[in-house]
């Protein structure tokens, strides 16, 4: 996982609300035991005109020319601008894996679904939540200006738009830190090993039926 400090990148506008994780990465591609290999199937049903299958070579597949990521000016986008409740539905972490492998570093939307939002941070993908009116303005600017890029400064929690306006965003301290420093969460939690053990001992006295292996 790459540490996220600053990122400047081309923005692609995906003008749909409630984009679900089935759309981000369809279920047939979940039959993998790896964390890689999902990028070329990102938004598979929307990107291609045929039915995608795992392991498929995508170079000669018929593409849907109307889909935003297939439009020339958005080809190398690294920031996805979208609508509310992005990432709803299934908990599949394959969704952020696919977005990252495709080349996205950040997502900007009025809201994200809870499980998806959480999964993003585990993988170095930054989901930025902004107010509806700001999102509306950004959609307008992207549309008007080919080559529209945004610069994201995670430490300062700001987004610079080419119109040199500065947009602030909120993010929890621990999540920001996790992205900036690439924290090993399991390693961090295991530092509390003794406290966890202590919890278990106390809980076992209170609710021994939860620990049948010890009775």
């Amino acid at each position: 996982m790459e540490n996220f400090l600053k990122h400047k990148g081309l923005v692609a506008p995906l003008d749909r609300a409630d984009v679900d994780t089935d759309a981000i990465i369809p279920k047939q591609f979940l039959k993998s035991v790896e964390k890689t290999g999902f990028g070329k199937y990102l938004f598979d049903t929307w990107r291609y005109l045929d039915r995608g299958e795992p392991g498929m070579d995508c170079t000669d597949r018929p593409i849907n020319r109307d889909f935003v990521l297939n439009i020339e000016r958005y080809r190398d986008a690294t920031i996805l601008l979208t609508r509310g409740n992005f990432g709803c539905g299934s908990s599949r972490e394959h969704a952020p894996w696919a977005l990252i492998e495709y080349g996205f570093h950040a997502l900007i939307a009025p809201s994200f679904a809870d499980i998806f939002y959480n999964n993003c941070f585990k993988n170095g993908l930054l989901p930025i939540t902004l107010d509806d009116d700001v999102i509306e303005k950004l959609f307008h600017e992207v549309e008007e200006m080919p080559g529209y890029k945004l610069t994201i400064d995670l430490e300062k929690q700001i987004v610079h738009s080419p119109a040199s306006s500065i947009i602030e965003f909120d993010i929890e301290l621990s999540r920001r830190q996790a992205l900036m420093e690439g924290i090993d969460e399991i390693g961090m939690t295991l530092k509390y090993r003794k406290i966890i053990k202590k919890y278990e001992v106390a809980r076992q006295l209170e609710a021994p039926w939860l620990y049948p292996e010890l009775s």
């Binding site: 049903t45 039915r51 539905g89």
Partner: protein, 472 residues
């Protein structure tokens, strides 16, 4: 001023905090971890890579369900990708000493059917699984929610998760449902009202007269679909029905321990003066059988009405979404729901594959035939044990004589990861939980309904109001 009391969620949260961090997140202890073949292999690889062991083996319980075949003697016909995932689950569970119910074990089933059925889900527990429908288990007064694969690895290695406390939402449903209106109709109706993002950031506690009279199966159906309203977790207070359901189940406490547990479980409800950040009230009596018409569970209407017109929607993004959904579904605004003809019927999934669902559906089809226009109608019991019980009641005969296929347990056509799926443009009356584009098969069209509505659609060849059904 008196202090507000605690909600059930507050109580469960407080009991499981191992450590609180300064930024408002907490380390939460996980009592039960359920695993399946699709979201766990990368987590086990992670454990191996970092040389971590499983913290507490007995907390974990695994079962293959997502891509298992549902026809007999089909194990070898499974596609190589699915077969590898099932094999990996076997290998990982065996290497790390985790209990697993394999393909030929009658206890195998959909993870959210199997867990409660085994008594592996108990009141007062925290239950997690790498699957969003883990909210199902909240029906037992349990704090249960879906997690991603990184968190699966985190739980395996540490028995804990780093979480931020959610807000509290109460959904109170008063009054009485019509006998033919089911918990599925109720939850679809609620999602239609509060939308698919209405519960975001909240744990939803369902309560009120209409919830209290429900069986545990019905309660599970409602909690199951809380995630379709955007809430990771759903909760319901413990009562006698919860306790009766659990007594004698394999993983439930026994003898002296049972009384002690029950005594503690009875406290698992919100205080009278508990504070909820958001409250919704609904009246059960006014709810009709529901049918989804679009590609999001919130796109739902009563069976007696028509496909809505996007022109009536003032929000531009919503209107565009409705237009796309109608185009995808091959429907025109104003079409009566009763004039929609499904090609296939699917009765199953973690929402509606329990014995009560199958019994209710069987009463609709008993002595009748699936309409000629239906290409395929299938019943997929939620577990091997549900299947056995259904067979002991003769339900398999009722279904097969009517022309339904009687399958083995698994997630099946709810998400079409195995061979059970829709072909492009095929329309399905489905008791599952998601009508997303392509969910049941590439370009397939899903209408979410209750088991009795699906059964009636199979017989009639179109959606009809089961309240008017003439039972034999």
């Amino acid at each position: 001023m008196t202090m507000a009391g605690q909600t059930l969620y507050d109580k469960l949260w407080e009991t499981h905090v191992v450590h609180s961090n300064v930024d408002g997140t907490s380390l939460i202890y996980i009592d039960r971890h359920l695993l399946h073949e699709v979201t766990s292999p990368q987590a086990f690889s992670g454990l191996r890579l970092s040389k971590h062991d499983v913290w507490r083996r007995s907390s974990n319980l695994a079962v293959p369900d997502h891509n298992v075949p549902t026809t007999d003697g089909d194990e070898n016909a499974t596609d190589p990708f699915s077969a590898l995932q099932i094999e990996k689950l076997d290998e990982n569970c065996s290497d790390f000493g985790i209990t697993k119910f394999g393909l030929n074990d009658p206890r195998q089933g959909i993870v959210h059917v199997m867990g409660p059925e085994q008594g592996a889900t108990l009141p007062g527990m925290t239950v997690v699984c790498g699957d969003s429908h883990t909210s199902t288990h909240g029906a037992f007064g349990t704090l249960a929610f879906g997690i991603g694969t990184s968190e699966v690895e985190h739980v395996l290695a540490t028995q804990c998760l780093i979480q931020k406390k959610m807000k509290n939402m109460q959904i109170r449903v008063d009054g009485e449902l019509d006998p033919a209106v089911t918990p599925k109709d109720l939850i679809l109706y609620i999602i239609g009202k509060i939308t698919t993002s209405g519960g975001r950031g909240h744990a939803i506690e369902f309560g009120g007269e209409a919830i209290r009279v429900l069986s545990m199966e019905g309660r599970m159906t409602i909690c199951n679909m809380a995630i379709e309203a955007g809430a990771r977790a759903a909760l319901m207070a413990v009562d006698q029905a919860t306790i009766d359901y659990l007594q004698g189940r394999p993983f439930a406490p026994t003898r002296g321990m049972w009384e002690k547990a029950v005594h503690s479980w009875r406290k698992l409800k919100s205080d009278e003066n508990a504070y909820f950040d958001t409250i919704h009230h609904f009246d059960a009596a006014s709810i009709e059988p529901q049918v989804t018409w679009g590609t999001s569970p919130e796109m739902v209407v009563p069976v007696g009405s028509s496909v809505p017109d996007p022109a009536d929607e003032s929000d531009i993004t919503k209107r565009a979404g409705m237009e796309r959904a109608l185009d995808y579904m091959g429907l025109k605004p104003g079409t009566p729901i009763s004039e929609i003809n499904p090609d296939k019927v699917f009765i199953g999934s973690c929402t509606n594959s329990r014995i009560e669902d199958l019994m209710a559906a069987a009463e609709i089809v008993r002595g009748r035939k699936v309409a000629d226009s239906i290409k395929q109608a299938m019943v997929v019991p939620g577990s091997g044990l549900v299947k056995q019980e259904a067979e002991s009641r003769g339900l398999d005969k009722v279904f097969t004589e009517a022309g339904f296929e009687w399958r083995n347990s698994g997630c099946s056509m709810c998400l079409g990861m195995n061979a059970d799926r829709l072909e492009p443009k095929e329309r399905c009356a489905s008791t599952s939980n998601r009508n997303f584009e392509g969910r049941q098969g590439h370009l397939g069209r899903t209408h979410l309904v209750s088991p009795v509505m699906a059964a009636a659609a199979a017989v009639a060849g179109k959606f009809i109001d089961v309240r008017k059904w003439n039972y034999h």
